[in-house]
Structure formats: C-alpha cells, structure tokens
C-alpha cells in the first residue's frame, strides 16, 4: 500500500464520522475569528439558542476595519466602529478570548495565529477568511470558510467536508539573490493559473520551499487560495519545531517535547501518491510583478506587459483586453517603465518581521520616496511585529526615507478602513489580490515582494531589485 501524504495524515486524524457518499464530519482544533465574517454567525447562534461548543478553541481579533493612525482616538467611521464593537460584545457575551484593537498583541488574524502559538502543527485551523491557508506553512490543515460554516464550527466544533484531491507543487533548485517567497508563489500561480488548484489541497515541497524560513513559507501558503486551493501546506521540519518553542500558547516543557515528537511525523511518506504533481525550477524564478486584474496575470520584472493579440484563445484574449483597459496599460510596455502613485507594504502575505527587514534593506542612507509617489506606507502585521521592527530601528529607516509607519491591520490590502487608492491610482503592493477595486474603486494594484515594493517607492517606477542594489 502506498504511503500517506501530509494532507491525508492531517485529514484522517480529524475524521469524526464519515457518511456513505464520502461526506466527512471533520473535527476543528483552532478557530480564528474576525469582525467582518462573524457577526451573522453569532447572531445565528443566538437565534437558535445555541452555545459555542468549545470557546477555548477560539481566538478573536478585529483587523479588517481598524484604523492604522491615531488609533487611541477610536474608529471615526460609525459603520466600521459598530462592526468592531459588535465583535467585542459577542466575545464578551460568549466568553471568547479576544485581542481588542488597542491590545499590543492585536494584528492581522493570520499573522497573530502562529505568532501566539495558537495555531500549531498537526491542527485543523479554520477562519471565516480565505487566507487561512497561511497556517498550512506550519504543517497544519488550514482553510477558509464562509459565515454559515463559521456558525457550524462554533456550534459543533466540526465541519462537513469532502476530501479534496492532492496536488504536489515541488520547487527544486535554489533561488537567485533578490528572489523571495512572494516571487515563488506568484510564479507558481502564473504557471498553474488561478483555478489550477481548485478542488485540491496543495503541498509545497522541494529544496526551495525547505530553504525558506517559516515566515517565507507562510507567504507561499497564504496565496494558495489565489491558485484556487483552499488549503496549502508545508511539511514540518526542525525549523517549524524551533519556531514554536516559547510561543505564548504553544505547549511547554515536557508537553512540548511530546508534541514535537508527533510533529516530526507530519510529512508525506516517500512513497505517497498525489493526484497531480507540478514541478518548477527555482533557479529560473525572477522577481515578479502582476500586470492585470487576476493574480495569474504576472510576469518577471524584466518582461513586458503581454499582448492580447498574441493570445490564441479568444476568451482569454478578451479577458486580457478588459484587464489592460482597467489597469490603464498598453501591451508591450516594459514593466520597469510603469510609474506608480502609491506603495503599500503590509497584509497577511507580507507584513511579518522578515518582510519588513527585506523592505528596509533596499533603502539606502539618503534615499527618499520619489516625488511622483503620493503615499508610501508600511503597515506591520501585528503589534508585536511593529514592536520588534522598532527595536531593530526599521521604523527609522522607513520614516527617514518618507514612508509612513502605521499601526497594524489589513489596511490597504482591501481598503475597508480609511486607507485606499483613489480611482486610477497605481500601487506597488505586497498584498495578495489585484482584483478590480480591491484597494479602492478604480484603483490599480501591482502585486510584488516587499523588496520590490520598497525599491519601486524610491525609484517611482518598478525596478529590478537585483540590479537596483
């Protein structure tokens, strides 16, 4: 019999019950909650007179609506304020641990989960948020769910699931200098397409993935959903285990060693069989820049905006034309000729300490944000990331170069708070979605790595970080 994939090990160990048609009742260990997708679920519990099954498995945090400046003054927008205070009230009423807006530990839900040791290897992790896939980087089975499912998990500690198929994405070789985890995942999506992972759980493996830090692996798994897959994961190794030593909610002492022993089994067996395998050569990956309105519309920084007239598939060509019109771009323009109006360094993809270090590293003494750039902002992923960055003096580097140093939250990744693009504005963004209107109605998003975003801010247009320094 063939061995098991990591996915199978995680999934099988959480099956409570299986129906004849293969629908599985899957046990959920960790449930993260934020203010946008939870109010209707709490309301549903109340209407049905139900209680959460296990409040201790839940951690709540407001992140999408919170302001990134003058936070001590509260939220000005009354609708956002109401949503955040609804979360506070619900957590109080049901007895759920919350990091409120002004708690030092507050941050983007997918940044604080691992940072607190709340999400752990071997766990099933859900959240009413598609980027829950991030937590797969630590060898967890993590995926986003809708609000009805949030209510279902609250009430029953389980979810009804069908087994997805398994996809192995192996990135071999070694990355060149200046090429980061973000470039790897953008290149993967460029290769397999935004629906390439639909119906699959992805395991990322190969020497490039192994060489990444846990933070880098999180950037990769974060964007599994942009490849269509609800879950992306990486096998546990010693880096994973070290990452969880001393995290606040992680097991301690003897229990830690017991857990670590189990965590070491969380990898695909050598003879495990995947439904599909995709292999990329890491040494060929270059810094990436997206040019369109879907994350698969991406090219290496040395390339040009593609030409729809050269696309043989007419439906695709039409999609490209629509994207170019929205983005205000001409086919065949060199990527490095594209000037930008704003820079956003942040989001659950790229707002961990390593990302801020990478962005700060391209800023030389005396460098200033270019005159044509109206706003360049750095939004740390959590209060603890912010504090760490300040300890290392990164905030000074950003501020001296003219970047704004903000308080943690989702911010301009989706522009639910006051941070947004105006119609027609073009942004170099480290976030994960370049959909129409994502960063503000009519806004134009180019997805890049933190180093590429910082360099574009200084140059005023996209540049190849490898030649830049």
């Amino acid at each position: 019999m063939a061995g098991k994939t990591l996915f199978e090990k995680l999934f099988e160990s959480h099956v409570v019950h299986e129906q004849e048609d293969g629908t599985v009742l899957l046990y959920i260990d960790r449930h993260l909650v934020h203010e946008v997708t939870s109010p209707q679920a709490f309301e549903g519990l109340r209407l049905a007179n139900r209680k959460p099954w296990r409040t201790g498995s839940m951690l709540a945090v407001p992140d999408h609506n919170v302001p990134t400046v003058n936070r001590a003054d509260g939220i000005t927008d009354p609708v956002s304020r109401e949503q955040v205070s609804t979360l506070d009230r619900n957590c109080q009423e049901f007895g759920i641990q919350e990091f409120p807006m002004n708690d030092l530990r507050q941050g983007i839900v997918h940044i604080i989960g691992p940072e607190e040791g709340f999400t752990l290897p071997g766990a099933t992790v859900v959240c009413g948020d598609s980027h829950t896939s991030t937590h797969g980087a630590i060898g967890a089975l993590a995926f986003g769910i809708g609000t009805s499912e949030v209510e279902h998990v609250m009430a029953t500690q389980t979810l009804l699931q069908k087994r997805p198929k398994t996809l192995l994405v192996r990135v071999d070789g070694t990355l060149g200098p200046g090429v980061t985890a973000k470039d790897v995942v953008l290149a993967i999506i460029g290769e397999i397409g935004t629906a390439g992972g639909t119906g699959y759980a992805i395991e990322f493996a190969g020497s490039v993935i192994e060489s990444l830090s846990i933070e880098g692996r999180m950037s990769v798994c974060n964007m599994s959903i942009e490849a269509g897959a609800r879950a992306g994961m990486v096998a546990v190794d010693e880096k994973t285990i070290e990452y969880f030593r001393d995290k606040p909610f992680a097991p301690k002492g003897e229990q830690f060693e017991q857990a670590a022993e189990y965590w070491r089994t969380l990898k695909s067996d050598p003879d495990a069989v995947f439904d599909k395998v995709v292999v990329l050569d890491g040494s060929e990956i270059q810094p990436q820049v997206s040019w369109g309105t879907s994350p698969e519309m991406v090219v290496p920084v040395g390339g040009r905006v593609p030409d729809p007239d050269e696309e043989p598939d007419e439906v695709k060509a039409e999609g490209m034309r629509k994207a170019l019109a929205y983005m205000g771009l001409e086919a065949n323009t060199p990527i490095t000729d594209i000037a930008i109006d704003k820079v956003f360094i942040g989001s659950c993809t790229n707002a961990r300490i390593e990302d801020l270090r990478a962005a700060a590293a391209v800023i030389g003494p005396g460098d200033r944000v270019a005159d044509n750039v109206k706003l360049a902002m750095v939004v740390p992923g959590s209060g603890l990331v912010r504090a760490q960055a300040e300890k290392e003096g990164l905030d000074k580097i950003f501020i001296n170069a003219g970047f704004e140093w903000r308080e943690p939250g989702c911010s301009m990744c989706l522009a639910m708070n006051a941070d947004r693009l105006e119609p027609g504005e073009r942004c170099a963004s480290t976030s994960n979605r370049n959909f129409e209107g994502r960063q503000g109605q009519g806004g134009r998003t180019h997805l890049v790595s933190p180093a590429m975003a910082a360099a574009a801010g200084i140059a005023g247009h996209f540049v190849d970080v490898r030649k830049y320094k």
């Binding site: 598609s130 769910i145 389980t158 009804l160 269509g228």
Partner: protein, 218 residues
C-alpha cells in the same frame, strides 16, 4: 433554509471568467452585521456609474446602462450564467447573500471556486457546473433570445434549455438531499454530538496540547 426542487427562470449572461467575490459585493458593504439587504449592491462597481457607500438610497443612484443586470429582461433574471472560476477570491458569504437577495436561485458556470461553492449550498443557491462547450451553447442561446427561461430540475439533476438541449449536472447526494428538504446543517450535525465527544476524549490523550484551551480574560 428555503427548499430547492424545480426552478424556472430567465438567464442573465455575465460573460466573464474569474468573477471574484470582491466584484460580486465590494468590501464597503461587508461592514453590515446582517445577512440581508445586499441585493441592491450586488455587482456595485459594475452596476452603478458612481461609487456607492453603505447607507445610501441605492434606488436613487445612476445605473450603468451597459451592465447586463440593468438591461430588461435580465434585471428580472433568477439564473446567472458565467464562465470559469466563478466566485473566486475572498470567502465572504456576503457574495452569496447578494446574489440571492437580488433574486438569483442558481448560477451556471464552467467551474466554481471552492469556498463560494460551499457557501452557496448553505443559502439554497444552486451552483451548476457544466462543460465549457455547453456553457458556450447556453450563452449563444441567451444572446439570440434574450429572456430565455431555463428549467432546473434538482431531483432529476437536469437543466432544460428550450430549443437547445437538456443537460445533466452532478451534485453530491448529501447536498442534494439537504437542498431538497431545506435542512439545517447544524441540527443534523448535532445528532452526532456523542461521536464528537468520543473523538475529543480519544484525542485528548493523543494530542493533549491541542486541548490547552484559551480562557477569555486570561
């Protein structure tokens, strides 16, 4: 949940791939803490000429005449037709609530994103995946006869497109059963409460660290 058995209605052709949930319901409307009222702002950026904000009287806003759902008879459509990867992106169930609140009972597309697909069943919106070729034939039929009504028969798992053909579609037997009966998932799952408790007992011994629970206020 409202049951779904047989539905007949006008098909609106939304001729795009990768229709994402940000497009179906833009973020500013996610600030609502309700499940209802999202219909007037479904496809807001495409549907209106000026940007919208929560709390506006949307009936007073200027409609974009080029957008298909503003053109009669498609403004009365209850079946939406699109191409591949429909509902990709954010997990927001608000996208499904916006479609059902607009009046849609079913979406026909070449393929669906996983989370949107799951969310649909929780709200009696039937997502039907058909081959690219079939979807293309339905588009052509709708373009040549605007106002064309299709008949969706869930028990029989068929879509009847008059003058074109009758197509079969796949659906899990459990989901089909829940839709036809209009069942509440949570009540069904709670019938397994003993199995859930037994699982917890067993796991508490195997992986005790996953049961170090957080306490509010700690």
């Amino acid at each position: 949940m409202q049951p779904f058995t047989v539905h007949q209605g006008i098909v609106a052709p939304l001729d795009r791939s990768n229709v994402d949930t940000d497009a179906i319901i833009p973020k500013q409307y996610l600030k609502s803490t309700k499940r209802t009222g999202f219909g007037p702002t479904a496809f807001d950026d495409w549907r209106y000429l000026e940007p919208g904000e929560p709390g506006m009287d949307h009936s007073q806003r200027r409609l974009n005449p080029d957008f298909v759902l503003n053109q009669p008879p498609f403004d009365r459509a209850s079946v939406l037709l699109a191409r591949e990867n429909f509902g990709c992106g954010s997990s927001r169930e608000h996208a499904v609530w916006a479609l059902t609140d607009f009046g849609f009972r079913a979406v026909i597309a070449t393929s669906f994103a996983d989370i949107f697909f799951n969310n649909s069943f929780k709200n009696a919106l039937l997502p039907i995946a058909l081959s690219a070729d079939t979807v293309d034939r339905i588009f052509k039929a709708v373009y040549s006869q605007p106002g064309l009504e299709v008949k969706i028969d869930l028990p029989a798992q068929t879509v009847n497109v008059p003058g074109v053909d009758q197509f079969s579609f796949e659906i899990d037997s459990f989901r089909k059963h829940c839709l036809i009966e209009g069942l509440d998932d949570i009540a069904l799952t709670l019938k397994h409460a003993d199995a859930i408790r037994a699982y917890e007992e067993k796991q508490r011994k195997k992986t005790p660290w996953l049961f170090n629970d957080l306490n509010a206020g700690c």
